[in-house]
């Protein structure tokens, strides 16, 4: 039995809007275990991104608990929460979110320097794996979408997280670049034992991951 990295217990999420309350999902229970890759699928608007944000500690659930390791995330002080996010998790967005005022190299190294896990050899290996060595001196704005996504992945991995959340990482890429990025994520999952949680619409991508979870009718189920 693998150790769980992040555990979601009886989580539900309700949004309050001007037209009333909206329950996105309820009683969701998931164990994200070490070295495992997960696909999270579901139709648009069912709350996949919200669930990913809850799992990564970016958003508070309406009810239920989130454990990172053995610690109840939302019982912790804001500073301790920030520390857990800094050391244990990393997240990749569809829109890459690179820091525009830092070069590619500075972007990659930034989080690892802040959480004091900076390791040159490790980072160089990631850079080689992601084939972005020639881009290190560039500014993010000069990169293509595929290149920016690879830099975002490199930045996330350089911080040596235990779990990597990816919110539709290939959503804005063409087929060729999507394949490259996905292969890299799977390779990383195997090579560095980093748990991987990927939101995707593509069943083809989901089939390549070890566990496929579907969010449907406000409930989560294994597929």
């Amino acid at each position: 039995m693998k150790d769980h990295i992040v555990e979601i217990k009886d989580v539900s999420k309700i949004f309050f809007t001007k037209s009333g309350s909206l329950e996105l999902f309820t009683d969701v229970n998931i164990n994200f275990c070490a070295s495992t890759s997960y696909a999270l699928i579901g139709e648009s608007g069912v709350g996949k991104s919200t669930l990913l944000h809850i799992a990564s500690g970016l958003e508070k659930p309406s009810t239920g608990e989130v454990f990172v390791g053995n610690q109840n995330f939302w019982d912790l002080k804001a500073s301790a929460q920030a520390l857990l996010r800094l050391n244990e998790t990393a997240i990749i967005f569809q829109q890459y979110n690179l820091i525009p005022c830092l070069s590619v190299k500075e972007n990659i190294e930034f989080q690892s320097r802040v959480n004091k896990k900076h390791n040159n050899e490790y980072i160089n290996a990631i850079i080689d794996d992601l084939q972005i060595a020639r881009l290190l001196g560039e500014w993010p704005e000069n990169l293509s979408g595929g290149e920016q996504q690879r830099v975002a992945i490199a930045r996330a991995l350089a911080a040596q997280p235990k779990i990597l959340f990816a919110d539709e990482p290939t959503g804005s890429l063409d087929e060729k670049n999507s394949k490259i990025v996905l292969d890299m994520l799977l390779n990383i999952n195997r090579k560095y034992n980093t748990s991987l949680v990927v939101i995707t619409h593509s069943l083809a991508i989901a089939s390549k991951l070890e566990v496929c979870l579907e969010l449907k009718s406000r409930k989560i189920s294994k597929k």
């Binding site: 949004f15 500073s79 920030a82 800094l86 820091i99 525009p100 802040v114």
Partner: protein
């Protein structure tokens, strides 16, 4: 610490992508702190000069003579005063190095009595002999001498228990050489038996001050300081709008960076700390530039201010600018606080920024809630300040009241513009699609645009307000002066013989002589000037009373009432028909107030009474001046005969034209600083609008692309943009004039009576409003055109290329 510097590096790196905003932020802080620190220097100089004379007066035994500018009077001044018949004794007063002891040097032979216990003289002891033998004598208490056991070995110490502790008195020559003040004294003590305030010093660099002066200096100093400080604050406030917009825009551009920092787990506190550190570093740099700029500006402004306070109020001045480390730190501190305040909204926005967008209907928005609380408190605060200004002596309440009214105006301005835009959008026909888009675009960038227009509104309304008050004052003053100077000649009288001779000549040429006589008295424990005059029909025709009873002139002619100056009436809350208890020359009188007259520009408390009544207190005093009215045909002969019979010089006979010229000159000088600061504020506001438009143009480049893709030309957009700025500028001008009139009214009705003691009837000046209106339109036109140029929106091709590259 390592984490702090890593995050700070990322935060600072954002400026690489926002060099323009960094430049404008630095410039904004530098301009604002230049204005603030220059005003601070000016104020410090004024206060220092007043403090010097007040300090001296508090410790001096008699009225004293000091230099107008220098902290000392010279041996040469002393000789010339004595040769002119002035009885003065030189005194040195200075702190003893490295102690808190004051050492006083006096002429032992002339002033020795005041060192010794009462009833004793130098001759009673052997001090005279010791002094004659060349010993340097030093008198003080035993306790004082204990503190300087090893100091001043060359002095012979004489213990006198009655000399206050921490004071030493010595022979002036010895003290001069001890303090390296050869040929210099701190002041001269005036030793005439009673001070005749009409005595004129023969040396222009010197001035005579007495106990009453201390209170007057304090009053003048406070009034000037508040007046200039208020303008400095307003200019600072306007300058900070540049910082508000440039930092607001720069922070908008770094939202992504902050979002990522929060996402990866950087603590919110650490991010805020680095943002504040970055702002403080910028303000340290810009504040230092501002401090230097302030020094240069103060150097330009100071001569006018010195001229004003020296001429109009006969007050000492300080010609040299003193700069100190503490002043520099204070300037930088103010720059830092202003920067943090103007950036607080942008900081709060970044602080509230979540790593991911969250939908929550009941979301609490701190910034918005704070704004609502501030708005809700504005009106009660304004009323509280108004109440305090009218009922208390808290002078700062006057400016807080004016400030809060201005803030209310600034708060209402964006609301009114929004309402206007909303109304236009509703009424605009559907075919004007581009205009409709422009309206929506204006609403989108409203916050930035309104900030520029608030600065503009502030500057315009302050200009209109200050101009309204000053020009109303000037026109009232000129009319008043014309009436007041009703005679052809004003002749100063030296003695009774001269008076009789002059009266004879006046009689010979069928002239009318009106004697003016002045002395001092007390009311309510305060010094007042008392004038004696003949309340004839000439006065009745020429002296407009601000408030009077129908038979006021008859009653004063009968000696039943007195007239009081407006200043005295406001300061002492004296109303018509009140009975005043006056103390004049050791006699007491209870008399009714029959009228209140204007006496603009005079800081003294003053009253006038019938000449006969005056003589009951000062029976032997002769008039100091007589005003002479003559038919035009007799004037030349009168003047010639007067010159041949009476020894007159330029000081004896006063030409009214000269008086008018001098008075108006002094008047213009008094408000020169206000005008200069108001104009600087207008310039800064135009610059603020310009920087805002640049910021907006840069931000909206992406928004403009679809408009060009649809097929509209750059020129069409620029023309429409100019039309928009033209409409908004005119709307702001219109509202500014309204606000300006309110400011003028407050200055006239609240601040002037409380600070200077006079109330001015406010007039309107449409010609000046038109000028300001045109200047505002020209400034905003150039701000728009230049901002387009700066944003590289000059040619269609360039513009399109830029836009396409930026997406």
């Amino acid at each position: 610490m390592n984490q702090f510097f890593l995050v700070l590096r990322v935060i600072v790196a954002n400026w690489k992508k926002a060099k323009g905003q960094l430049f404008f932020t630095i410039l904004g802080i530098a301009i604002a702190s230049t204005l603030w620190s220059s005003v601070d220097i000016v104020n410090n100089q004024t206060i220092k000069a007043q403090k010097r004379s007040i300090d001296l007066l508090q410790t001096a035994f008699k009225p004293i003579v000091i230099d107008r500018e220098l902290p000392y009077v010279s041996q040469n001044d002393y000789v010339r005063l004595r040769l002119s018949g002035w009885l003065v004794n030189p005194v040195i007063r200075a702190p003893l190095k490295n102690t808190n002891i004051i050492i006083v040097g006096v002429d032992l032979l002339a002033d020795g009595k005041k060192i010794l216990p009462s009833g004793k003289t130098l001759a009673d002891s052997n001090f005279l002999e010791m002094y004659a033998n060349g010993e340097a004598l030093l008198f003080g208490s035993g306790k004082t001498f204990e503190k300087i056991t090893n100091q001043l070995p060359n002095f012979t110490r004489i213990e006198l228990a009655h000399i206050p502790e921490d004071t030493l008195i010595g022979d002036i020559a010895s003290v001069q050489s001890l303090l390296n003040m050869e040929g210099k004294f701190t002041y001269f003590e005036y030793i005439n038996k009673s001070l005749n305030t009409l005595d004129k010093l023969p040396l222009k660099n010197l001035m005579l001050i007495d106990d009453n002066s201390a209170g007057e200096f304090r009053f003048i100093s406070e009034s000037f300081t508040f007046n200039i400080r208020a303008f400095g604050f307003l200019s600072f406030f306007v300058g900070m709008f540049i910082v508000y917009t440039s930092v607001g825009m720069a922070y908008d551009q770094r939202r992504l960076t902050v979002k990522i920092l929060k996402t990866i787990g950087i603590e919110r506190t650490l991010i805020n700390l680095t943002l504040v550190t970055e702002l403080l570093l910028i303000s340290l740099f810009s504040g230092s530039i501002g401090a230097f700029g302030g020094f240069l500006l103060a150097r330009e402004l100071l001569p006018d201010i010195n001229n004003t306070i020296s001429n109009i109020y006969n007050s000492p001045i300080d010609g040299k600018i003193d700069l100190s480390i503490s002043w520099y730190f204070y300037s930088v501190l103010i720059a830092g606080l202003g920067t943090l305040l103007s950036c607080s909204r942008a900081l709060l926005k970044l602080d509230n920024l979540r790593p991911i967008e969250q939908t929550s209907y009941k979301k609490f928005h701190f910034g918005k809630s704070l704004s609502i609380i501030v708005y809700a408190m504005l009106l009660p605060l304004t009323f509280t300040f108004y109440y305090l200004s009218m009922t208390s002596n808290i002078k700062v309440a006057n400016f807080l009241f004016l400030g809060s009214v201005i803030v209310v105006g600034c708060t209402l301005l964006p609301l009114l513009i929004k309402l206007f835009l909303f109304f236009i959008a509703k009424k605009l026909p559907e075919r004007f699609v581009l205009s409709f888009w422009l309206l929506r675009d204006t609403q989108k960038f409203g916050a930035l645009l309104f900030a520029g227009y608030i600065a503009f509104f502030l500057a315009l309304s302050i200009n209109v307000g200050v101009h309204g008050m000053v020009t109303s004052f000037k026109s009232t003053f000129v009319e008043w002066l014309e009436n007041r100077i009703f005679a052809e000649y004003y002749i100063n009288i030296a003695n009774e013989r001269q008076l009789n001779k002059i009266q004879d000549v006046v009689k010979k040429y069928d002239g009318e002589a009106y004697p003016i006589i002045k002395n001092n008295g007390r009311y309510n424990e305060k010094a007042i000037e008392i004038y004696g005059f003949n309340p004839s029909s000439v006065y009745e025709e020429n002296w407009p009373l601000l408030d009077k009873k129908r038979n006021a002139w008859d009653r004063i002619r009968n000696g039943e009432t007195i007239f009081v100056s407006e200043q005295l009436s406001i300061r002492e809350k004296i109303k018509l028909d009140d009975f005043l208890e006056l103390e004049i020359n050791d006699k007491k009188i209870r008399i009714q107030v029959g009228g209140i007259y204007a006496d603009y520009g005079n800081p003294h408390n003053q009253l006038m009474m019938q000449l006969k009544l005056f003589k009951t207190f000062f029976s032997s005093q002769i008039p100091s001046t007589i005003a002479v009215k003559l038919a035009e045909s007799n004037r030349l002969n009168f003047f010639n005969e007067l010159s041949s019979k009476v020894v007159i010089n330029s000081e004896t006979i006063i030409n009214p034209q000269q008086v008018r010229k001098i008075s108006l000159g002094i008047f213009d000088n008094t408000f020169k600083i206000s005008f200069q600061l108001a104009l600087i504020t207008l310039f800064v506001a135009a610059f603020t609008l310009y920087t805002n438009l640049i910021s907006i143009n840069k931000l909206r480049k992406k928004d403009l692309l679809p408009i060009y893709l649809i097929g509209f030309s750059v020129n069409q957009v620029i023309r429409l943009e100019l039309l928009k700025i033209y409409i908004l500028t005119n709307m702001v001008c219109f509202l500014s004039i309204g606000m300006g009139v309110i400011i003028a009214f407050i200055l006239s009705e609240v601040i002037n009576p409380n600070f200077f003691g006079w109330r001015i009837p406010i007039q309107v000046f449409p010609k000046y409003w038109l000028q300001i209106w045109i200047i505002a339109n020209i400034a905003s036109f150039f701000a728009t055109i230049l901002s387009f140029r700066m944003s590289n929106v000059k040619t269609s091709a360039n513009f399109d290329r830029k836009i396409l590259r930026s997406i």
